[in-house]
């Protein structure tokens, strides 16, 4: 069956900046109406005041694609690329400014799990309410009720108002309902980024099950691993337009991770946009430096003295502050996490109020030749993320080339994620083969 499930033709969505965020008051509107004759007069008599183009933004422009029935399409892109707007248009929450789309079949859209959950209602009641909001019929919910409850693991609390639930229980119940939507087309936005790792795994499994059932899925996510696991096609948005639309999921994701041809393929990051401000820690700079503190450029030899330097501002000292980075391979595999609080507490570097500079030695000759991504992370231990890896945290790129070892026999890159130069020694050898055997038997 290669029928078209979703056909999108030249869709565009224009937003007026400001008005979409700010509420206008009645007074402004009345004043504007009263001022209309004057404006008309001005326009007729004087030169036309140019409309400010910066007040308008095409959140989506010239979007066109077709999805065949049964295709699993991942939609990726940085924040503000238009992913969520696209999903909102296709799930009819908002209307496009231009273009059109035809969708064949019932659509279930999940822009959020637990939409419409009411804190005062019990788990049982919320299953029905949420199901209905997601477009399920009462009979359908009743039929799946047991399954939903089993999936959510909250049987014991079914008759407790959900306001007494822990956030984990709440999410589980919410996802359980969502996971049982049975529409021909499913549109999902970033819902897997919640919950603990165990639950995320369960959700991914359920999503996989759903997709194998031959349904069409449009999946928006920051979680590239999930996209890679689930999707057989990926659409990458940039600035409201389609940048890539390809079935070669892996290479698109790799390119995305490394910003293949944009300018963030560098060894240093500076907070130029006044980005994530948090009183506990605001990052200012994230860079690779040499032992003198000078910034270095790619490629870097594997035997170079290399340091990772993090500058930031602390307005409010918090003892549970953890600053560190994630090292990810070119293929998206996480190699390690490291925090400045990894050692014994007495050895932790100082992070008091004011500017702070942390430096950590990058392990020499540990990883193999290749491209790596270092992503800054910061959190209040077990409380909240300040910079969450995978969620637009500042990142830099490290390209390791050469300097693998001093050996004449190891000049070329070997297979393997790691390429440590390990220690080899000779000790006093036994005289003969018999000695080895007798030594073992002893």
């Amino acid at each position: 069956m290669s029928e078209t499930a979703i056909r999108v033709e030249n869709i565009g969505k224009l937003y007026r900046l400001g008005s979409s965020k700010k509420y206008s008051t009645l007074r402004e509107s009345i004043m504007q109406t009263l001022g209309a004759p004057r404006r008309v007069w001005n326009r007729l008599s004087g030169p036309k005041a140019a409309p400010k183009p910066e007040e308008w933004l095409w959140a989506l422009r010239n979007i066109g694609f077709e999805v065949k029935r049964g295709e699993l399409v991942g939609v990726i892109g940085r924040n503000g690329a238009g992913k969520s707007t696209l999903l909102k248009v296709l799930s009819r929450i908002t209307t496009p400014t231009e273009g059109f789309a035809d969708i064949t079949g019932r659509v279930g859209s999940l822009l959020e799990v637990g939409t419409g959950f009411h804190p005062e209602l019990t788990g049982r009641e919320n299953i029905y309410l949420n199901g209905a909001i997601l477009g399920m019929h009462r009979a359908e919910i009743a039929r799946k009720f047991d399954e939903i409850v089993a999936f959510s693991d909250v049987e014991r609390f079914l008759d407790t108002p959900v306001k007494h639930y822990s956030s984990g229980m709440y999410m589980r119940l919410a996802f359980a309902v969502a996971a049982h939507i049975e529409t021909e087309i499913l549109m999902v936005d970033e819902v897997l980024s919640v919950g603990d790792a165990e639950f995320q795994k369960k959700c991914l499994g359920k999503m996989g099950e759903v997709t194998r059932a031959g349904r069409t899925v449009l999946f928006v996510s920051h979680n590239l691993n999930a996209v890679e696991q689930l999707c057989n096609r990926v659409i990458m948005l940039e600035g409201g337009r389609i940048k890539t639309d390809s079935k070669d999921v892996r290479s698109v994701l790799t390119g995305y991770l490394f910003g293949a041809d944009d300018d963030d393929n560098t060894t240093s990051w500076v907070n130029s946009k006044g980005q994530p401000a948090n009183p506990c820690f605001t990052p200012q700079r994230f860079a690779l430096v040499d032992s003198e503190g000078r910034e270095v450029r790619n490629p870097i030899r594997n035997d170079a003295d290399l340091w990772v330097e993090i500058d930031g501002e602390i307005e409010q000292a918090d003892t549970s502050l953890c600053i560190g980075y994630v090292l990810t391979s070119h293929e998206g595999q996480v190699l390690y996490w490291t925090y400045h609080t990894d050692q014994r507490q007495s050895d932790w570097p100082n992070t008091t109020r004011g500017p702070v500079r942390l430096r950590s030695k990058f392990p020499k000759q540990l990883v193999n030749e290749g491209n790596y991504r270092l992503e800054l992370m910061a959190s209040l231990h077990f409380r909240e993320w300040i910079l969450e890896p995978g969620n637009n945290a500042p990142h830099i790129t490290l390209v390791i080339q050469g300097g693998l070892s001093d050996s004449p026999y190891w000049m070329q890159m070997r297979p393997g994620l790691l390429a440590p130069v390990l220690d080899w020694q000779s000790v006093e050898a036994p005289k003969s083969a018999e000695d080895i055997i007798s030594a073992r038997n002893r």
Binding site: E3, Y15, S19, S20, Y23, S24, T25, L26, R27, S29, K88, V89, L90, S91, R92, I93, T94, T95, P96, T97, E98, G99, F100, A101, D102, I103, T104, G105, R106, V107, S109, L111, E112, T115, G116, H118, E120, L121, E125, Y128, L129, A132, I133, L134, G135, H137, R138, E184
Partner: protein, 283 residues
């Protein structure tokens, strides 16, 4: 804006999404499709309404009852307000019931879109369901308070007349009136939060413009017509006629009310429909 066309695409329906142009007839088809959601919205609002209150649904009785007591003391006792020949308390209570239904429905519908903003920005459903659901919740309170009215009628030895059968129509009329106004206000409130502040004032003003505390016979005949523009005066007087048998129904007044309600509703629906597409972007 959106049209759902039943197509024989292997029994799958095709949803067509495009920018909306011009006026559009009300989409009854999709409203019908989402009737279960309407039911769930009402059910939710009713369930939640008296959660965590000590007195629970007793509030539905207490509110009109206490207002009646105040009215009886101030207007009935002190001001010696005429009451068309029936005891003033039941005269007032009989007017208060449809009025409170109307006022409640009006405030529920007006605040419904902003109050359900989290839903509107995350899920699609015909937006009209939200104000309509807010409307129906008031009927439960009304039913509870109505029982007290019947009890009071026994207490005052007033006979139950066959004209009581008109009540459902009057109720429908009151509900449609509040929907007509509520649609305007709810759509406006998405853009202008001023509505929330204006509403209590509107309601209070409207209460005094409606013959709840006083009989419409108090109004000079030449002004009756003006009174009819307010649909609630027709409803309140109709209630008293149907239950207490006071005076007779002024058909001219009723006719003016009907026309004004239909105009309000048509305008409200058209405005709501025009604004519908922007709700998710603005709310």
């Amino acid at each position: 804006m959106l049209k759902s066309i039943a197509a024989s695409h292997g029994e799958l329906r095709v949803t067509h999404i495009q920018p909306r142009r011009g006026l559009r007839v009300l989409d009854f088809r999709s409203l019908w499709e989402y009737r279960e959601l309407l039911y769930f919205f009402c059910w939710r609002d009713i369930k939640v309404r008296y959660k965590q209150t000590a007195l629970g649904a007793t509030w539905a009785l207490l509110q009109p009852f206490m207002t009646m007591v105040i009215f009886s003391v101030i207007f009935g006792r002190f001001a010696k307000m005429p009451s068309d020949g029936v005891p003033y308390p039941i005269f007032a209570y009989c007017g208060l019931l449809p009025w409170q239904l109307f006022a409640f429905a009006l405030s529920e519908t007006s605040n419904s879109l902003v109050g359900n903003a989290h839903l509107i920005t995350k899920v699609y459903f015909p937006r009209l369901l939200v104000p309509v659901a807010g409307l129906l919740t008031g009927l439960v309170d009304f039913a509870i308070a109505f029982v007290l009215l019947i009890a009071m009628m026994f207490y005052y030895h007033l006979p139950i007349r066959s004209s009581i059968l008109v009540i459902p129509f009057l109720l429908l009329f009151a509900i449609v009136s509040s929907l007509g106004v509520g649609l305007w206000l709810s759509a406006l409130s998405v853009k202008y939060r001023d509505v929330r502040h204006v509403l209590p004032f509107i309601t209070q003003f409207w209460l005094y413009a409606t013959p709840v505390a006083y009989p419409s016979s108090l109004i000079p005949h030449k002004w009756r017509f003006l009174m009819g523009i307010n649909p609630m005066s027709g409803v309140v007087e109709g209630f008293r006629w149907a239950l207490l048998g006071t005076a007779h129904v002024d058909l001219g007044l009723m006719a003016v009310s009907v026309v004004s309600v239909l105009l309000l509703l048509a305008g409200g629906l058209a405005y709501f429909d025009r604004m519908e597409e922007t709700f998710a972007d603005l709310v």
